[in-house]
């Protein structure tokens, strides 16, 4: 275990190694009856540099969430190879991956009354040294507490520390889940639809937190989103998936275009420039201008 951690550290010291390297990765779920066995991920290859925010977009069922699950080691890499910090996923233990990659899942359904502080401290689990005789009681060290506190400060949830997570609003809960992921002290943060179901203010809040983490901690972020405008505003590069295959990869300007969206989503949209940042802005067409679509329905 110790040597693994050393290797991890060393590989992260070398700047040339991309944070995530995906090479020829294909994955498919075991057959479900009556359904054709299709590739969920189809020969994907791309790199994510350290300190980069990559947005993964694409229609429903295009493999976005599956891609995150492969990157976090939850789903096995079917074909191809995923390397984190230069080391193949297959050679790492689950605990080893956990010290490197943190995941904020799409939905958080905690059925038991855990407090915010308890939830955030769970993020320290992969860093704890288990003592057999203590049975886990009092395993949290001062540095665990400090790390959790720091994560809670960064996401502004310290004042909620003793509240139950189940009693929080959607935006607060999402911030707690990001705090838990940050307490893990990861190099890579994977988020699945972090802004879904949040109102405007909370969407901006979450995205600003991610942006700040990238700048201050050099965190590498991969986030799946349905919101193309949000993705083009906050991501350095965008990966567009179509049926599990890479359709386009590049800066928002390179990826978001009328033709690409028509090819991937199968519908026409209006695209202009964001008045402040100049990144592409996607607008759905007016009801009147979609008459030809309705005629086909």
């Amino acid at each position: 275990m110790k040597t693994n951690r050393m290797e991890t550290m060393q590989s992260w010291l070398s700047v040339d190694v991309p944070a995530i390297e995906v090479e020829g990765v294909s994955f498919r779920y075991p057959t479900t009856e009556g359904r054709e066995r299709i590739w969920t991920l189809d020969h994907l290859s791309f790199h994510v540099d350290a300190g980069e925010i990559l947005g993964v977009v694409g229609p429903n069922g295009s493999g976005k969430s599956s891609l995150l699950k492969v990157l976090s080691g939850y789903l096995p890499v079917g074909e191809g190879d995923v390397r984190l910090g230069g080391l193949s996923l297959g050679t790492r233990s689950q605990a080893d991956i956990a010290r490197l990659v943190a995941v904020v899942p799409q939905e958080y359904a905690q059925v038991f009354p855990f407090t915010v502080a308890e939830t955030v401290l769970m993020g320290r689990f992969p860093h704890r040294t288990a003592r057999w005789w203590s049975m886990g009681i009092g395993d949290e060290t001062a540095s665990d507490l400090a790390c959790a506190h720091h994560a809670m400060v960064e996401t502004d949830v310290v004042s909620l520390a003793d509240r139950l997570v189940s009693d929080l609003s959607g935006g607060e809960r999402q911030r707690v889940m990001i705090a838990r992921a940050l307490a893990q002290a990861p190099k890579i943060l994977l988020l699945d639809e972090p802004t879904a179901f949040l109102d405007l203010q909370h969407q901006i809040e979450i995205c600003s937190i991610l942006r700040r983490l990238k700048e201050e901690r050099g965190l590498t972020v991969v986030l799946v989103s349905h919101d193309l405008n949000l993705a083009s505003q906050y991501c350095d590069r965008i990966l567009m998936l179509k049926a599990g295959a890479l359709f386009r990869l590049g800066t928002p300007q390179e990826v978001i275009g009328v033709d690409a969206l028509r090819a991937v989503y199968g519908c026409d949209v209006l695209i202009d420039r964001h008045p402040e940042s100049g990144v592409p802005r996607v607008t759905i067409p007016s009801y009147a201008s979609t008459k030809h679509i309705r005629d086909h329905m």
Partner: protein, 358 residues
């Protein structure tokens, strides 16, 4: 920074060694007090002095003093003391199984009795009895083994059902458990119906839940067994915490979920099998106790598991005392008492006490 961190760490927001010690210490003292209290009640009431004499006698284990013992002391030593102890450990075990199943299935209403795990164990034991396999075979406690096999099978079946769809709603899982329970109970009924009447009567009495203790050596083995499994469950308490976040998140936190789940299934089946084989089917303890304890002390399984075990032990010891005194000299099945006292209390906690008090 650390000072700030300790401000919420000491305010009861997270589990500290201090809080753990306070809660568990308090519950241990309460357990001893409850056990001594339970010893006094029964078909014949016994005063504190007799209880003390009997306990002193047992502690010294002197053979000479045996002749000087009165009837009450003999009742105390030979019947009541082992029975109260067994009630305590059966209750503790059932509550611990409840806590574990609830975390594993992420369902606060899971319970070995409701999900059919107890029936599975009971079916295993009934089969063994039907084929005339004794309680020990070449020194192996064979009935608990059958109970373990039956319980594990029921548990795996329920888990497969829960997994067959990616997210089985809480109530569907309970419904599946109820149906499995009905099927297994039908098999048990079938077995009792083809047995000779005098043997089937004994089987029925055991099935309804009885805490009549076996001889002292067997009781000792049972207590040790329950204690060992409880300690092994405690070692996985932190993993249980992570598992409540969902399997994907648990994995992303470095928990080897597959292996730990298998191990926890084996441990719960081992515990349920042994408990059912000695005390039959006692419901409600595994659901009510963890739920009530969780509402008071929170969800951290490092504290929840041992605290539930102690409260479950006290709960069943008291329930059994009520069962054997309320209609004295007749006894009513303890399962009736657990359901009638646990149910309303559960409702009260669920509806009015959502806050945490410790």
């Amino acid at each position: 920074m650390t000072d700030l961190a300790s401000s919420w760490a000491n305010a009861g927001a997270v589990l500290t060694v201090h809080r753990w010690m306070a809660v568990i210490g308090g519950l241990l003292l309460a357990s001893v007090a409850i056990l001594v209290l339970c010893l006094q009640f029964g078909a014949t009431s016994v005063d504190m002095k007799t209880v003390a004499t009997a306990i002193m006698h047992m502690l010294r284990a002197d053979q000479e003093g045996a002749a000087t013992l009165g009837t009450s002391e003999i009742i105390m030593v030979q019947i009541r003391f082992p029975r109260v102890l067994m009630g305590f450990f059966v209750g503790a075990g059932l509550a611990a199984v409840g806590v574990t199943l609830q975390a594993l299935l992420r369902n606060p209403l899971a319970d070995p009795y409701v999900l059919g795990v107890s029936s599975g164990s009971a079916l295993g034991v009934s089969l063994a009895i039907l084929f005339g396999i004794g309680s020990t075979f070449m020194l192996l406690p064979i009935l608990p083994l059958f109970g373990f096999a039956g319980g594990l099978m029921a548990l795996l079946l329920i888990y497969r059902l829960a997994q067959s769809k990616s997210r089985l709603p809480i109530h569907s899982l309970l419904l599946a458990g109820v149906i499995l329970n009905a099927i297994l109970t039908a098999f048990i009924m079938f077995i009792t119906s083809i047995m000779e009447p005098n043997r089937s009567a004994g089987l029925m009495a055991w099935l309804m839940g009885s805490l009549t203790a076996p001889n002292y050596p067997a009781l000792g083995i049972f207590l040790l067994y329950v204690l060992c499994v409880l300690v092994m469950l405690m070692h996985k308490a932190q993993s249980l915490n992570m598992l409540t976040l969902g399997e994907e998140t648990a994995r992303s936190l470095g928990v080897e979920t597959e292996g730990i789940k298998k191990w926890l299934f084996v441990l719960t089946a081992l515990l349920t099998g042994a408990i059912v084989s000695v005390s039959g089917m006692i419901g409600f303890v595994g659901m009510v106790v963890p739920h009530a304890v969780r509402l008071v002390i929170g969800s951290d399984h490092r504290l929840l598991l041992p605290a539930s075990a102690l409260v479950g032990g006290m709960f069943l010891a008291v329930a059994d005392t009520i069962a054997r005194t309320i209609m004295a000299p007749a006894e009513i099945p303890v399962g009736i008492v657990t359901a009638l006292t646990g149910g309303p209390f559960f409702l009260y906690l669920l509806l009015w006490r959502k806050d945490r008090m410790v």
